[in-house]
Amino acid sequence: MAAPTEGLVPGVLEPAVVAPPPGEEGRLGRLRVLGGIWLPALLVAAIFFLCFVWPIIGPVPSPTGGSILNSNDPSFTPGHLFGTDATGNDEWSRLLYGGRASLEVALAVTAVGLIVGGTLGAFAGYVGGWRDGVIMRALDVLIAFPALVLAVAIAERLGPGELHAIWALSFFSVPAFGRLARAATLRVREQNFIAAARLSGTGHVRTLLRHVVPNILPELITFALLGMGIIIVLEGALSFLGLGIPPPAPSWGNMIAQGEGILSAQPKFVLLPSAALFITVVSFNLLGESMRARWTAR
């Protein structure tokens, strides 16, 4: 719970007091770093490539508008790597396009959370006082609000869709980022270099931008990476309940929902999007965790 003893003369180590993380020696350590950051980063890049770029440049058929004559082709039919679904749509294509939809939602929601929530939280943490209280209470309301009600409401009122899913999920991410940003800002604010900056005449805005933001950014980015996984799962849940992206446009969530009924007969319709979801979430989680390990091991 407490930080290790300070008071180390620069350049000299009192290793018995500040124990270094073991296992970081030599080749083994480097291997760890490789697995830790580069592998998941590569995976994430590959996923993005497959979902966003490949359908444009590669031989990927349209995910919708298949002919019923082609329905339920098994895997490895020529032209259809994973076969086709009940209405004749190529499963592989549905996976890719579905991934694109899910990732778009996740990116948008994370961006909104980071920008809106992060700003609000940093502001609240920095200024304190009644403004802090008001902002925090507002965020608390959003957190306590069952997002489901909101999601259902939005879906019912405006019809399900990608944009509306983004709306609904942003109500989640903004308070989450807000809280984190505020807590991080509070911690940074107490540090001496902030006082030093203010004492030397730096204005509030400049202090915020030049000193606070760079110091809370690593934490926010780590949270964003870990949050990507959570949001993708949530979007899947929404689509699963019929509140997110509506069929026939594919999303991993609604693909799973559609496959649920024929789970025993043809498990691949559930397993394929589930596997895709799993791999994506794992990659983001790994990336986020290793970023966190790097940035807090100082």
Binding site: M1, A19, F145, A153, G236, A237, S274, F278, V281, V282
Partner: protein
């Protein structure tokens, strides 16, 4: 710098006529709780008001939903007046609020049943599910984390970290489907759907809850395992009291169990209490998949039928639980950390 024996919580000068009540009211603990509850009120108000607004903006109203598509506008209007849903928004909210402070949550527009009794039937089911899930997740997470922390970066540690990372990444509804596929359909060990109340057989009741509870518990367990293990390892590596304990000759197991675990408990408790709030949202989808008549399920159908009192009642309870869970986390922290409980005397 001498310390006083544990002084009574009240710090004010003693007057002969100070009664027990005054002392209780002055107790910092109660003041703390009171303050938090006071702050929670605007939050609760905000949530319920927001819900009202949102539901009322949905197309259709309760009367319409109840009578169906073929009803004539007059019939709908008649029912609407009878149900009171034709009044303006603020007036409806005001009425609801005034009943709330008297403890009356109203009646379902669909069934006429009192909301309190509906909640009373549904909440225990959801609670049982959540309790079961916590039991599984903590019951496994704590021992695993302890063993992992015993040899950091050893085989067990690395393996459990890999598995817990995987477990964290599985969406609980996907897990639910997979569990159903294997254990209910293929192996037929556990039922896939439905609910049996405890008074009709505790064992059956638990059987029906097992797959749902596991679906919820897996990601929780993975999260707690990672959190506790990280906390323990950090304690063992950096805290001075650990060195003291080792210098006494205390064996490593005891250092972990008796010394480090106590200090790591705080982080875990906070995580659990905070999860309590978010779990309520999770149960909605799980109850849907497994056909459990809990509060999540109720909420979903109430939204669909625009049954405002039920929705409001459920939302209110949800929000209340979230607030109370946060409060509980703080209270537990205060109760368990001797520094907070006994106060500093320096």
């Amino acid at each position: 710098m001498s310390s006083t024996a544990s002084a009574p919580l009240s710090a004010s000068p003693r007057r002969a006529s100070t009664g027990a009540l005054t002392r209780v009211v002055r107790s910092p603990l109660l003041r703390f709780v009171g303050r938090r509850l006071l702050v929670a009120i605007p939050v609760l108000w905000g949530v319920t008001f927001l819900t009202f607004v949102v539901i009322n903006h949905l197309p259709g109203n309760a009367a319409q939903q109840l009578l169906g598509v073929n009803a004539t506008p007059q019939e709908v209007h008649q029912l609407a007046v009878k149900l009171g849903v034709d009044k303006p928004l603020l007036s409806q909210y005001g009425t609801w609020l005034s009943h709330l402070v008297q403890g009356d949550l109203g009646h379902s527009l669909a069934s006429g049943q009192s909301v309190t009794s509906i909640l009373g039937t549904d909440l225990p089911i959801t609670f049982e599910l959540i309790a079961y899930a916590f039991l599984i997740s903590l019951g496994l997470a704590i021992p695993i984390a302890l063993v992992a922390a015993r040899r950091p970066n050893g085989i067990f540690d690395r393996t459990s970290m890999v598995f817990s990372m995987a477990g964290l990444s599985i969406a609980n509804y996907i897990l639910a489907l997979i569990l159903v596929y294997f254990f209910a359909v293929k192996l037929n060990w556990l039922p896939a759907l439905g609910w049996v109340p405890p008074n009709k057989g505790l064992a059956t009741n638990i059987k029906y809850l097992t797959l749902p509870a596991i679906s919820v518990a897996l990601s929780l367990m993975c999260f707690y395992t990672r959190q506790l293990r990280a906390d323990l390892v950090q304690q063992l590596r950096t805290e001075d009291y650990v060195t003291t304990a080792r210098a006494k000759g205390v064996g490593e197991w005891r250092v972990i169990r008796h010394h480090a675990l106590r200090n790591s408990a705080f982080g875990l408790i906070t995580a659990v209490a905070l999860n309590l709030g978010t779990l309520l949202g999770v149960t909605v989808i799980i109850e849907q998949i497994f056909g459990l008549p809990g509060i999540g399920h109720e909420l979903l159908s109430a939204i669909n039928s625009r049954d405002l009192p039920v929705v409001e009642g459920a939302v209110f309870v949800f929000a209340l639980i979230v607030v109370l869970a946060n409060l509980l986390a703080d209270l537990l922290y205060a109760a368990l950390d001797p520094r907070v409980k006994y106060g500093s005397t320096n």
